[in-house]
Amino acid sequence: MSATTTLTDRLQGRATVEDLVIVPLFSVAAALILGALIMLATGVDPGTIGRSFLALLRGSVGSLHAVSETLTAAAPLVLAGLGLALGFRAGLFNIGAEGQVVMGGLAAVVAGFSLTGTPAIIALPASLLAGALAGALYASIAGWLRAATGAHEVISTIMLNLISYRLLDYLLRTPFIQKEGRDDPISKSVPDAAELPRLLSFIDPNLRVHAGIFVVLLMVALAYWVLFRSKIGFEFRAAGENPVAARFAGMNASLTIILAMGFAGALAGLAGANQVLGVLDRATPGFSAGIGFDAIAVALLGRSHPVGVLFAGLLFGALEAGGRQMQVDAGVSIDLIGIIQALIIVFIAAPLLVRALFPIGFERRKPGGPAP
């Protein structure tokens, strides 16, 4: 039973309460404990470790500012995570969210500054759309290659990620995109009309949470609807669970793959657009900041379910925001958060390992079950 649930089962959400609640809780706890051990090993004294965990909590949910930072950090993670979740459901392992975030963000910047002078009602949706489209097109390359030639999407999306970085470096130096009078690779700024407005600036201009969170909520609802209420979502899930059966049922496997990648890319592209239009206001090398990779973890943690992804994204956003506070308060590097995130995925993706580590709290494996 749950001990034998395969990865596909878990990615596609056919899991028990145990898998949905207990494993994630244990995973987060185990990752935090191991994080503390790593701090000890690098000569951080126990007092500072305590303070850093307090700072982590305070920096993520301890104040209005902290919540604002958490939401700001979570928004792109949820968007890109939704995209990856859609792909997982269709049986596609898309490692390429990072590249799609880069292309989406860049397209949103270009659309933004090209539309200078237009009112916000046109500029903002057009820029967001440009981001989504660019991400979708970029992801579709891998989808098309998979459908037409069988090239595995893991390798092609990794390569597309690496290509996107070089392309970004190059494009940021082209006269059309580069900021006037600058020698370093940096794009022109997005005009105010194309920016996602800050929601709480009337309270304090430093509160960065922006209208992107509405885009996020909308997309969570849309992803849910697509996956569970639409014909195409049914085809995604069918293709992911049993490609052969799906083909015999008359579904067009190639089209499904390309569409699933396109959807995933659109969401990752929106994540990039969300970053540049809501937070950064321009594109620079490395503006994607690993969002696409963290999103893999978010999608896994959220069990590829839109609502799960929303919560997982919030957790990772909280870790991110809290990590910055930790760095300021306790002097512990924010890179620790990366370790904790990686450990969380290990435990989430290997429930057998969690079971081995924590014998209590789980139902016993049936005798004769697969050997660990």
Partner: protein, 411 residues
């Protein structure tokens, strides 16, 4: 199986690629009239100096275009299909040569220096590719090579700073092996998805090494200042022009990569253990039935693969700068995976592919000196684009071990 129709389609695609290259060379890579490209083959200090290679730019480029056009046209005629991969290989080499002549026209350029740099830059890619071959031959997909390289680089710098170069190297190999073992444990024993396990190893190592370098190395700089292995010149052989500096005047990492590729080939294809490993990769159920311990074989091979990657990682610190920087492997592990696919899961193939990537890498460096109008970013992209083309099966047939990526559950 590929159908005859697919084959015909691929033959046509190859033809189109070659013809497009011919057009590109003939129209865009023509140097000014009468310009000569001078390639320096030896340095003044060399024992046996030989003269420069001087190529007339225009005639060479036109000849190259003609050859490309001939090869391309041949693909559309009967019989072209049989030599498809070979034609494409020759065609690409000719196109690169034309490119070099065009870039060098009117200037002088040290060919030997670039070949030496090619060799050096190929090392981490070759070792990453070799690690990929060793683990994928037992059907474990190893996306975590990038992380293993990074772990090796980090350990090499840390232990090398404290105990010296050789212990640093040993520690890097050991840590690489440890991550290989962890990967094996995650995917074999705990049956975690292989791709996720690899991604996790990458994320974990990146996080851990960045954390330690910002937490510890900033305060204790002496912990991040390792000695560098110098180049060793093989007597006599090292004095041969061109080949000598390339193959016989290098540091232990280059020699190590060459030897390991040879040893791995021997192991995989000429020993009983290697045969068993390949059986596990192709058909674990059958191997199990014959009494081969599938789990043990996977553990051993993936751990050894990790050790190879750890050695390759040490190149970044002990083989070049002696200092660790965050994320300094810069995607070389992924290119190693690409080299593995290019090399069709064969150690020597992976090494050759790594040389091609190393060449692109060093060419990209030298282009800045030659001041061509081509942005270096595009050259940096070339290996990745080439990889996508290879994975898409447009260049020859690349077949992974049959059970690659699949967990095995013993009954």
């Amino acid at each position: 199986m590929r159908s005859a129709r697919d084959k015909a389609a691929h033959t046509r695609v190859t033809g189109v690629i070659l013809l497009a290259l011919a057009v590109f060379v003939a129209f865009f890579l023509v140097p000014g009239p009468g310009q000569l490209a001078t390639f320096r083959l030896s340095r003044p200090t060399d024992t046996w100096a030989i003269g420069d290679l001087v190529v007339p730019g225009g005639p060479f480029v036109y000849a190259a275009a003609a050859l490309l056009a001939f090869l391309g046209a041949r693909q559309f005629l009967r019989g072209g299909a049989r030599w498809r991969s070979l034609s494409l290989g020759i065609g690409l080499a000719v196109a690169v040569a034309a490119f070099l002549v065009w870039a060098t026209a009117g200037k002088a350029f040290s060919l030997t220096g670039m070949l030496q740099a090619t060799m050096v830059r190929a090392v981490p890619i070759a070792l990453g590719g070799l690690a990929g071959v060793l683990s994928e031959r037992v059907a474990v997909v190893n996306i975590g090579i990038e992380g293993m390289l990074l772990a090796g680089a980090f350990t090499g710098a840390l232990v090398g700073s404290v105990l010296g170069g050789v212990p640093g190297l040993v520690a890097a190999v050991a840590v690489g092996g440890a991550f290989g073992f962890i990967l094996a444990a995650l995917v074999v024993t705990y049956r975690m998805d292989q791709i996720i396990a690899g991604v996790v190893i990458n994320l974990f190592v990146l996080g851990l090494t960045s954390y330690v370098s910002s937490q510890v190395f900033q305060l204790h700089r002496d912990l991040n200042n390792a000695p560098v292995f110098r180049a060793i010149k093989v007597p006599v052989l090292g004095d041969i022009p061109v080949v000598g500096p390339m193959l016989f005047h290098q540091n232990i990492f280059v020699y190590g990569a060459l030897i390991m590729a040879g040893v791995a080939t021997y192991y995989l294809f000429h020993t009983r253990m290697g045969l068993r490993a390949r059986a596990v990769g192709e058909h674990p159920r059958a191997a199990d039935t014959l009494g081969i311990d599938v789990y043990r074989t996977r553990y051993v091979n993936v751990t050894v693969a990790g050790m190879v990657a750890g050695f390759g990682g040490a190149w970044f610190t002990l083989g070049s700068v002696g200092r660790f920087d965050e994320g300094m492997t810069g995607g070389r592990g992924f290119i190693g995976l690409a080299a593995m696919i290019f090399g069709r899961w064969h150690p020597v193939g992976a090494l050759s592919a790594a040389l091609v990537f190393g060449f692109a890498d060093s060419l990209q460096q030298k282009l800045a000196l030659l001041q061509t109008p081509i942005p270096s970013e595009f050259l940096a992209m070339a290996p990745y684009i080439a990889t996508i083309i290879v994975v898409a099966g447009l260049v020859g047939r690349a077949r992974a071990p049959a059970a690659d990526g699949k967990p095995y559950v013993k009954e």
